[in-house]
Amino acid sequence: MTDRLRIGFLPLVDACLPILAHEHGFAEDERLELTFNRDVSWATVLDRLLYGHSDAAHMLAPLAIAASLGRGRPAQPLAAPFVLGLNGNAITVSNALADMLGTDGELGGPIKLGERLKEVAIQRRNAGRPLRFGVVHRYSSHNYMLRYWLARCGIKPDADVEIVTVAPPFSADAMDAGEIDCSCVGEPWNSIAVEKGVGQIVLATAQIWRRGVEKVLALREERLEEIQPAVEGLIRAMRRAGEHFVDPENWDTNAAILARPEYCDAPHQLVRRAISDRLVLIQGKAAREYPDFMFQYHEAANFPWVSQAEWLYSQLVRWDGMEYDAAKAKAAAKVFRPDVYRSALKDTGDPLPTANSKVEGSVSEALEASVQGGTILLENNTFFDGESFDPDLLESYINSQK
C-alpha cells in the first residue's frame, strides 16, 4: 500500500531533499506518494502543519522549537526527526554599506568584517539612523547567527542596530528601496540581490558557525506517532536524495528541478550556484568557491543532534529576554528525535552516531567519531570565535552570554 504524505515548504533551495526524493523516485521506492504545499510565509507553513493541511513541513529549526514552547502561538509539541541541512544562508549588504565597509568582493573573515561593521554601526546609531538588518523570521537560524556574530563583535543587536523581519522574496527589493542596509537570508535570495545589482554578499553563515543547524523536517508529535513508518520511509528516501544532491554530476539536473515554478521559481543558474557552493559576491564578477556553504549529506549532517536543539534553546532564551527554565529546556531538547532517525536507517548501512548529543563547535581538526559499526570523519565544526557549546553546561552557557 502506498502512503500519501503532504509536505509544506517555502521556495528555498534547502527544501531540496523532500523535493528530490519525490522527483527521482526515491520516495516511490519507499511506497510513498509525496504532494507539496508551497507557501510564502513561515506563519502559513506552520499553521498548515498545526491544523492538518500538511503532514510534515520544511521548517526553520528555531521555529519548530519556539512553536513547541508556545512562543507566538498556543504551544503544540513538534517533532523533528531529520535535519534538512546545515547553513546555506549568507549576509548581503547594500552597495552603500559595502562601500563603507570596503569589502571589495572578498568573503572577508567574520572578525575583520565585524570590526569594520562595528565602526559604521556605532556612527549610524549616534547619528540617530541605526543600521537596519532584515532577517527572514524572528525564530530563524538567520536571526540567531546574525545576532551571535554581531554580539561577539561588540555590536548590541537590540540597541546599536535594528533587526526586522523581511520575507525572503522581498529582501532584494527592501534593500533597493533603502528599507534595510543588510540582510541575512537563504539562497537564491542573496544571489538575486547580487544579480539585481542592489547588494553584495559579504559573509556566509557557515563562516559564523561552520556546522550551523538550519532547516528541519517538522511534524506534530502526535502526527508522527500516527504515521511513523511512512516518516521513516521518507527519511530513507531523503538520505538517498542527499547523496544525489551532493554529487557534482547531478548539479545541473537538480538545479533545473528546483528552479521550476512549482518549487523555487528562480533562475536555474542562481540555484546551481548555491548547490555547488559557488557564489557570485558582486554582480558581474566570477563565482568563488565557498566550501560547505550548504551542507546536506556528509558527516551524518541530517542526524538531529539533541545538542543542536539545546543550542537553539539557549539563543531563544538569550534574544527573547527569558530566563533559563529546566522544564522548557527539556521540552526544547525533546523536539529533536534521533530515535526516529536511527530507527529509519538502522539496517541500511548508513552511518548512525552512537551518541545523541555532542559538544557543538569542538572540532577544529578532522576527528573520527564512532558510529554503529565503525567511525566517520567529522571535519571542522567551529564557531568563528572559537567558543564551543557543551549541552551538559547549558545553563552556564546561557548565563555567560547575558
Binding site: S41, D47, H53, H137, T165, A167
Partner: protein, 193 residues
Amino acid sequence: MRVAIIDESGPRASIIKEGLATLPGCEIFVVTQRSGLIARMAEIEPDIVFMDLGNPSRDVLEEYFSVSRALDRPIAMFVDESDDASIAASIDAGVSAYVVDGLSAKRIQPLLQTTIQRFQAYARLETELAEAQNKLAERDIVDRAKRILMTSKGVTEPQAYAELRQKAMSSNRRIIDIADAVVTAHDLMGDAS
C-alpha cells in the same frame, strides 16, 4: 471595534469589508499595499486584524505583534487559545485572524464567522470564474479542430463534430482531448497540412 483587513487582492478585501459593514460597531480599514504595512498598523491601532494565508507579509506582521507586546497592546493569534474549531475553520477558509487579548469571544465570533463566509464565497467565485474561462478555452479549441477538419477533409461542421465525438468515444477520451490533439498536430505540421 477597529478592524483591519490586510489583503493584496482588492476585490476580496471589498467583499469582506461589505460583509463586516453589516455588523454594528465596526470601523473597518482595508490595507492592500505591502510597503509601509507596519506604519499603517501603528496608525490604525486595530483590535482585530484579518490577513489571508497567502500573504507573504504574515511573518512581518507577527514580528510586529510580538514586539508590540512590549507596548502593552498584547495581540494573540486567533480568537481564543481553546477555540480550536474556529481556528481550524479559518485556516481551512484561508484566513488568519489576530485579536487583541481580552476582547470577549462573544464580540469576536460574529466578525470571524462573517469573514470566513466571505472568504469562502470569494473562493467559490474564483473557482466558478476559472471553470467558465476553462470552458470558453475548451470551446475555442473544439471550434479550431472542427475548422481544421472542415478545411482538410471538406466536411460540414456537424460532420466534423461527429468525427471528433466518434473518435473520443472509441478511444475512451474526452472530445476536448481529441480536439487538442488535432490542433497540436496541425500546428506542428504548419502549412504542410
